[in-house]
Every structure is written in C-alpha cells, then in structure tokens.
C-alpha cells in the first residue's frame, strides 16, 4: 500500500518535472544568453559554449568607461532613462491621483465621461497612437526634446493609472468622506489627510507601473528623440543594430545593465504589482 502511494506520488512528481524543466529552459534561454555574452570576450561569445572558458568582466569595464563608438554617451543615456522614467512616474501619479479623486470621491460631473475617454485611450494600442502623436509633437515644436517623450509617456500611462486608482478608491468607505465633511474639512484636507494615506499601496503600484513603462519604452523614445545626447538607453541599444559588425557582447552587457533596475524594482514591488495591477487588468 505505502509502496503504491509512493509510486503514485513519484509519478506525479515526474509529470510535474516534465512540465517544469522545459518551462525553466524556455524562460531562461534568452536571458542566460545575455548573461553569457556579458561575461565572454568577443571570440568566446561566438563559440556557442554553455560557459566561457575564461569568464571576464572586461565588457563591463568597456561599457562603464565608454570605450566604444556605440557607448560614447553611456552614462548620459543611462541618466536620461532615469530622469525620464522618474519624471513620467511623478507626473502620472499627480495627474492620475487628482483625476481618480475627483471621479471617485468628489463625484465630479463629467467624471464618468472622462473615465471612459481614458479607458478608450488605454485600449488603443500605443503603436497606432504613435503616428498622430509624432506629428502633433512636431506641431508643438517639442520633437527632439525630452519633454516630448515625458508627456507622451504620461499620456499613455495615465489612463490605466486613473482606472486602477479609481477602482481601489471606490472601495474606501464613503462614511470617511462624510465624517470629514461634517467636521468641516475642505476638499484639499480630505485629499491630503484621508485619501492619500489610505491609497498609499495603490499609489506605489501606479507610480512603479508608470516608471517601468517609461524606462522600458522603445518605440516612442526612438521616434521622438534623435540626438545622441538626448536619447534613452533603450534607443541606444537599438542603434547597435545599425551596423553589421556590431559588438554584440557589448550590446548584451549594456542590455543586462539596462534590464537590471526594472527587474529589481519589479521584484521589490511584486506584491503591489500583482495585487494592484493584474487584478485590475482583467476583471472577469
């Protein structure tokens, strides 16, 4: 009897492994490939080995010292990425929190319409909005200014942020607002003293979402910015493709450096990201 149950549990375990191992390989292959290139010199990177004979940190030194044509402005571009991501996170947070508060708590007239417009914007794929946005930025004279990218990303990040904030804001008990009003609180006091503290977890989730969206963005960044000193690291990575004999090991090294901060942020705020955002994304 115990032998049979042992066999059965062993076969269940085997079946699970039969799924788990391919899933692991499938997931890790492109990521490990980046890592492998980053610690290999050029000849070994192309050797197709699972682990380089002489792992080296030379590539990182080259990137950090900007010793390659493609990396002339590495630190500046990293800084641009950071600056733009933080600006988009902060601006989106301000715009979205105000709008969600007005719609959900103040029941501003027209709030529902605004919410619908925002949702509509959210659902139109950003790649299609990019064409008219590019032309409009030209009209505004913002092309090749970082403000163009910041404002475009706020436009893209805000709708979903408003929606998530409205959803969680609707869950706060209305008695709180009533009590605050009875005590003679002004709207701004309600906003600062009651609303913001209670909404803190959602605000973290939304701020992180907007920040990561901006840091990871490629299409808008490469359309709206062109000067080597203005572009983000994402665009700089794309530039490696312009030559046939690009230093792929340096591209991968830079890519690894570029990918680490968002991954770290994602895992740090995973609880908020998964709880706050995915639940909102698909309501059954």
């Amino acid at each position: 009897m115990s032998r049979r149950s042992f066999l059965r549990s062993a076969s269940t375990e085997a079946k699970l492994l039969l799924v788990g191992i391919p899933v692991f390989i499938w997931t890790m292959l492109p990521i490990y490939h980046i890592f492998l290139f980053a610690i290999s010199n050029k000849d070994q990177a192309f050797g197709g080995k699972l682990w380089p004979e002489h792992p080296t940190l030379r590539n990182f030194a080259i990137v950090f010292n900007q010793e390659n044509y493609f990396l002339n402005h590495f630190w500046l571009q990293l800084w641009n990425s950071l600056l733009i991501a933080v600006a988009v996170g902060a601006l989106t947070l301000i715009v979205a929190t105000c709008a969600a508060f007005a719609i959900s708590r103040l029941k501003a007239r027209g709030g529902r319409t605004v919410m619908n417009l925002a949702l509509f914007t959210y659902f139109i794929p950003a790649a299609f909005l990019a064409v008219p946005m590019y032309k409009a930025m030209g009209v505004y004279g913002l092309l090749n200014h970082q403000w163009a990218l910041i404002l475009a990303m706020v436009t893209i990040a805000a709708p979903y942020s408003i929606w998530v904030l409205k959803q969680s804001s609707d869950k706060l008990p209305f008695e709180l607002d009533e009590a605050a009003r009875m005590d003679g609180a002004s709207p701004m006091q309600l906003f600062r003293l009651v609303y913001l503290p209670l909404m803190a977890p959602s605000l973290v989730a939304v701020g992180t979402y907007a920040l990561l969206l901006a840091w990871n963005e490629y299409l808008y960044a490469f359309l709206l910015l062109s000067n080597d000193r203005d572009i983000t690291l994402a665009v700089a990575l794309g530039h490696f493709l312009s030559a046939d004999d690009s230093p792929w090991e340096l591209l991968m090294t830079t890519g690894l450096i570029y990918a680490l901060p968002p991954a770290a942020i994602y895992y740090t705020f995973k609880r908020y990201m998964v709880g706050g955002l995915t639940a909102g994304a698909v309501k059954s």
């Binding site: 799924v19 788990g20 899933v23 492109p30 990521i31 980046i34 197709g48 301000i94 709008a99 007005a102 103040l106 029941k107 501003a108 007239r109 027209g110 709030g111 605004v114 619908n116 417009l117 925002a118 949702l119 914007t121 659902f123 139109i124 950003a126 790649a127 299609f128 909005l129 008219p132 590019y134 032309k135 409009a136 475009a152 706020v154 436009t155 805000a158 609707d170 008990p173 209305f174 008695e175 709207p187 906003f191 490629y218 299409l219 359309l223 994402a234 990575l237 794309g238 490696f240 493709l241 991968m252 690894l256 570029y258 990918a259 991954a263 995915t278 994304a281 698909v282 309501k283 059954s284």
Partner: protein
C-alpha cells in the same frame, strides 16, 4: 451605502438649466479633473484629429492598398492574432494548472518564470535575434553540433521569421497571462474539486466541468485584451526582423511606423485608420466589460 454622498442625479440638460454657483466641492472636482482633461485634449484628441485630417485624401488609401507590403502586413497581422494568441492563451491555461501545485520548487520556478515579463523587451528580443543568427547564433551551432547540417537562415525567410516573431511575442507575454489565469484558478472553491473527486471524476472531467466553466469569462476577456495588445506589439517584430526580409514580416503596427520613417505621413495614418476595424470592436467589447 455609497449612495449617501452621490449628488442628486439630474437629467442632462445642456442648456436651459438654471445657472447655479459652483460649490467649493464641485469646483475642486473640476479643478482636479482638469490636468488629465488637458493631457487628453492636447496629446490624444488633437493629434488624432490632426492625423485624420492628414489622411483625409482617398488617394492615400488607394496608394496604400496598391502597396504590396500592405496586403502582406494585413495577412501577417491576422496570422499573428489567430495563431500566436491562441497558442499563448492555451499554454497559459495549461501552465496556470501547473503553477497552482503547491511545491516549493514550483514556487521558485514561478518567480523565474515571470522574468520575461519583468525585464525590458529590447535586450531580450535582441538576444533572441542573435541566437537565431545563421552563422554564430547558438541555435544553428547546436543544430550543426547535433546533426552536422547547417540550420536554416531563420530571419531570412518570411514564414520562419514570422514564426520566430510570434514565439518571441509568446515568450514575452506568456508569464503575464499565466499569472492572470492562476488568479482565476485560485478563485475556484476547493470543495468543487473535492466533490468531483468523491464522484470519481477524472482529471479531464474536472477540467471540463469545474475549471473551465468557472474560468470561461476570464479566459475570453483575457483573449480579447491580449488581442488588442498584440495588435500593437511593435517590438517583437521590429526588433527581431525589422520587418524584413524584403518587408515581408511587417504587421500593421510596424507598417505605420515604417511609412512614418519614410516621411509618408498620410500613408502612415491611412494604415492606422485601416487597423481600426480590427481594433475598435475589441475595444468596444472591453469597454462594455469594464464599465459593468
């Protein structure tokens, strides 16, 4: 409970309503709504109207349809939607069943599994691009080591390249949808499965009569949302194949940008307009779902 603070619902009377002075609360309501409304007007409404005005000439559409790349792109887009999304969602449904198993190694695996979604797409897509390099890529080197034959030139053939773009897309977005479907599975009461076990149901019967009925709505919603996002998936195609070889792997999202880069703005806008019959019904469906 929440109706306490609701303002009295007045019938919409755009004109003729007696002009009241705004209360402080109403004034603040408008003031706080204003930043987003300004963003919407300046960066969504005006650009869209301006874009439509640029694409007002019928010749743009005639030229677009005459361009063979357009037809290719439409076909590619539809293949992408039908094949990639169904594969992805079926895999996500299957894997969500795998990841709800409570084992510590599965918990660890689920943390790793989310990586493609957590890291930016540019480095990983470029990594896949190099893996598929015909001479130095690890894929063809493995094929050569195992069989002694030269592997195919993956990104130089329309169907191979398009398949690889779809695989890239699936690799990137599978974790997200698996996560969504896991949350759906976890919401199913365990008693249902226990009752089914008592009645002697097989694994397949449990799926058909317990899991699927509970998850159907979530699955369909996910499918539609995933379609909308896939329609706009610029990166998977552009960064992997650049639309090549010979512009054979463009999808509508990359085609619009291609025209834009060639300074043919009217054609770019016409492409966007032509994508709308695909996008708008899906958007309408999602709006209905969400505003319930």
């Amino acid at each position: 409970m929440s109706t306490l603070a609701l303002p009295k619902v007045e019938p919409a009377t755009p004109t003729g309503a007696p002009k009241k002075r705004l209360t402080t609360w109403e004034a603040w309501g408008y003031a706080l709504l204003a930043p987003y409304v300004v963003v919407f007007l300046v960066f969504v409404l005006y650009p869209v109207c301006y874009g439509l005005w640029l694409a007002r000439h019928p010749e743009s559409y005639v030229n677009l349809v005459d361009d063979p790349v357009f037809e290719t792109s439409v076909i590619n887009t539809i293949i992408f939607l039908v094949v990639a999304i169904n594969l992805k969602m079926a895999a996500a449904l299957f894997l969500s069943g795998f990841f709800v198993n409570t084992r510590s190694w599965i918990k660890w695996l689920s943390l790793i599994f989310i990586l493609p979604w957590a890291v930016p797409s540019i480095p990983t897509i470029l990594s896949i691009r190099f893996m598929l390099n015909p001479e130095w890529g690890v894929v063809n080197q493995t094929i050569f080591a195992l069989t002694g034959l030269d592997g195919p030139n993956w990104l130089n053939d329309r169907w191979l390249a398009l398949s690889m773009a779809m695989l890239t897309h699936i690799w990137k977005s599978l974790p997200f949808w698996t996560l969504i479907l896991i949350s759906g599975r976890l919401a199913i009461p365990a008693e249902l499965y226990e009752a089914a076990s008592v009645d002697g149901a097989t694994t397949w019967q449990k799926f058909c009569f317990v899991t699927w009925p509970s998850m159907r709505t979530l699955y369909v919603t996910s499918l539609i949302l995933s379609m909308i996002w896939t329609l706009g998936d610029f990166n998977s195609v552009y960064l992997l194949t650049g639309g090549g070889p010979a512009d054979l792997t463009h999808i509508l999202a990359t085609l619009g940008i291609r025209y834009l880069r060639l300074d043919q703005v009217d054609m770019a806008m016409a492409t966007v307009v032509c994508a709308m019959p695909l996008v708008l019904p899906l958007v309408y469906f999602m709006m209905k779902r969400l505003s319930r």
